[in-house]
Symmetry: C2
Subunit: 335 residues, 2 copies
C-alpha cells in the first residue's frame, strides 16, 4: 500500500478537505536510471495554491485525481541510478506519495553534515534562495535604507528580514500574530514589527517608516500592500514574491496602484526563484556562510504524519506557521 | 491688462469650468537677469491633472487662485538677461499668463531652423523624450518582440509607436476614435490598432498579440491595462508613463494585478521624463535624427486663443486630441 494525496476538485476560494483526498495507490518499482524513495519531510508552500487552478502560470497546474507535489526530503530505498545509493538523503520536487520513483538526476543529494536535512527545504533551499535573490537582485538595498517585508515571519520573510539587517538597513516586518511579532522583534531583531490583525497598518507603517520605504519585499499583496504604496520613496523597488492575500479570492479587487509607481518612479518586479537558476550557487554560498556565522537563524514549524499534509497546507492561509512549515512523514533510517 | 488662468477650486473628479477662471492681472516687469515673454503656444498635458490635487507627487500641486503652468513656447519682448534678446523664441515651464517674467537661464532658446517651433513642445521636447526613455530604457524592446501602446494616438504614444517600428517590433496601438485608428494604421503603419470604445479590448488584444506581449507602454491604466496584464510574456516590461483613466476617479478600484507580475516575472517601472535629465542630449539626438530622416512623423492638434486653453485641457480626458494638443495664443512677431 502507498498513500497518496490527490487533488480531486479545484477550489474557487480557500482550499479545504473537499478538494483533497488521501487515496491508496501501489508502491512503484524503479526502472533503469531511477530510484525508489520514501518521503521523510514534505514542504507546504503558498505557491501551491496557484497550481490548484487550471490556469497558465510559470508552473503547470496539478492534474485532477493525481497526486499534488512539491519540495520534499526523501530517502533512497532502492537505486537503479549510479549516483545514488540506498540510505542516501535527497531533495527534489516529488509527488505527495509515501513512496515514489524518480529519475536519479532530478534529485539533489543532501549532506547531513551541513546541518539538519530539513534546511534543504528552507534556508538552504528554495525559500532561502527566493529571499536572497528577490531582496538582493530586485530590492538592491543600500545601507541605511528602509526595507518593509510582508509575510515577515514566514519561510521567505524571516530570511529577507535577516539579510536586510545584515546589509545595514532599517527593517520593518509585517505579520499576523503576537508570537510572530515577538519573534521578529526579539529573535530576528528587526527595527519595527507590525501586527496587521490588531493594528491599523497604514498608521503603523507611517510611524515605523519615518524616512519612507525604499525596498518592499512583498509576499502578500492585498490591503497590506495598499498601505505600503503611498510611502514609497523616489526610485523605490518592490520585489513581488507572492500575493497570498489574493490566492483564495477570485477576481480580487483593490485600489489601482499605477499612480503610486508614477509618483515615485518606483519599480515592481514579479519573480520566482527559478528565474535565478543560473545563480543558485552564489545564493547557496552566501546563505550557508551566514548560517555558519550565526547571522541567519531559522525557524521551522513541523507537523507530524502523512495524513496531516493537507492541514499543514491549509494552515498557510490562516497564518498559523512561524517560519518554514513542514510535515514530517518518516524518520531517516540512519540518524 | 494681462490675462491669466487660475485654479480656483480643486476637482474631485473630472475638471470643468468651475475649477478654472480667467482673471486679469498686471503685466509684469523683468528684474535684472530676467526676461519678459509673451506666450505663443501652450502645451496642455494629462499630467497637469495631478497638479490640481493637493497631494505630494513628483511635482508640487498648483496653488489655489494662482495661475496654472506648463510647457510653453514664448517670445522675448524685453530682456535683462545676457543670453536672450527681444524676438528670440524660447521654451520652458511658465505660468498660463499672456505675459510673464522668468529667469533667463530657466528658458531654452528654440532654433526655428530645426523645424516648426512647436516641435519643442512635442516630438523634440518632453513628450518625445518621455516616449524615447520610457520605451528604450524601461521597455528594452528587442527586434521581433510585441509592443502594446495605450494612448497610442497621443503626444507620447505616437512617438512610442513609431520608435517601436524603427527598432523592428510588432506594434499594437490602442486608441479611442476611428480617426485615430486610421492614423495609427495608415500613417504610423502600426501592425494592429484597437479602438477601445467600440471593440472588446481583451478579445482584440488576444487576436492582435498572437505571441503575447513583451513590452507595454502604458499611458492610461484602468480597464485597458487590466486587459493587457494577462497577455504578458515571461520577463515582460511595462513602462508606466501615465494612468489617465484613474486621474479623475477618486479611489479608483480594479482587479489586483500582482499575480500577473509573479506569473510572468514581469516588471513595471513608473517614471517621469525628469528621471532622465542627465541623458536628454542622447534622446534629442536620436529623435531629431529620426525626424530628419523622415522616420518619425508628428501630428499636432491646435486650438486657437488664450481663453481656449481650459477647453483644450479638458479635451484630453475625453480623448479629443490626435497627437500633441496645443493652444496657439499668438503669432511670433517675425515669421
Amino acid at each position: 500500500m502507498n498513500k497518496e494525496i490527490h487533488l480531486v476538485k479545484r477550489p474557487e476560494g480557500t482550499p479545504t478537505d473537499e478538494h483533497i483526498q488521501i487515496v491508496n495507490g501501489e508502491k512503484p518499482s524503479p526502472a533503469e536510471g531511477e530510484v525508489l524513495v520514501q518521503l521523510l519531510y514534505v514542504s507546504v508552500d503558498p505557491y501551491m495554491r496557484g497550481r490548484m487552478n487550471d490556469t497558465k502560470s510559470y508552473i503547470p497546474p496539478f492534474a485532477l485525481n493525481e497526486p499534488m507535489a512539491g519540495g520534499v526530503v526523501a530517502e533512497i530505498v532502492e537505486s537503479k541510478y549510479d549516483g545514488l545509493n540506498e540510505g542516501d538523503i535527497v531533495t527534489g520536487m516529488l509527488p505527495w506519495k509515501e513512496f515514489s520513483t524518480a529519475q536519479g538526476d532530478q534529485l539533489r543529494k543532501v549532506d547531513p553534515a551541513l546541518g539538519p536535512i530539513t534546511y534543504s527545504l528552507g534556508i538552504l533551499g528554495m525559500p532561502g534562495l527566493t529571499a536572497y535573490f528577490g531582496l538582493m537582485d530586485i530590492g538592491q538595498p543600500k545601507e541605511g535604507e528602509t526595507i518593509v517585508v510582508s509575510g515577515a515571519a514566514g519561510a521567505v520573510g524571516t530570511v529577507v528580514a535577516q539579510i536586510g539587517k545584515i546589509v545595514g538597513c532599517r527593517v520593518v516586518g509585517i505579520a499576523g500574530t503576537d508570537d510572530k511579532i515577538d519573534y521578529l522583534k526579539n529573535t530576528l531583531q528587526v527595527d519595527e514589527a507590525i501586527n496587521y490583525k490588531t493594528e491599523n497598518v497604514a498608521d503603523a507603517l507611517e510611524k515605523a517608516c519615518p524616512d519612507g520605504v525604499d525596498v518592499y519585499f512583498d509576499n502578500v499583496g492585498g490591503d497590506i500592500s495598499d498601505a505600503v504604496y503611498p510611502l514609497l520613496n523616489k526610485f523605490a523597488r518592490i520585489a513581488q514574491c507572492g500575493a497570498i492575500a489574493s490566492y483564495n479570492v477570485p477576481n480580487d479587487q483593490g485600489p489601482r496602484m499605477q499612480m503610486h509607481l508614477i509618483k515615485s518612479s518606483a519599480l515592481i518586479k514579479g519573480f520566482t526563484v527559478g528565474d535565478y537558476q543560473d545563480r543558485f550557487q552564489e545564493g547557496f554560498q552566501h546563505l550557508s556562510k551566514w548560517v555558519q556565522e550565526g547571522k541567519l537563524t531559522y525557524e521551522e514549524t513541523i507537523q507530524e504524519g502523512f495524513e496531516n499534509i493537507p492541514n499543514a497546507f491549509f494552515g498557510l492561509f490562516t497564518g498559523e506557521n512561524l517560519g518554514k512549515q513542514l510535515v514530517k512523514v518518516n524518520e531517516p533510517s540512519q540518524k
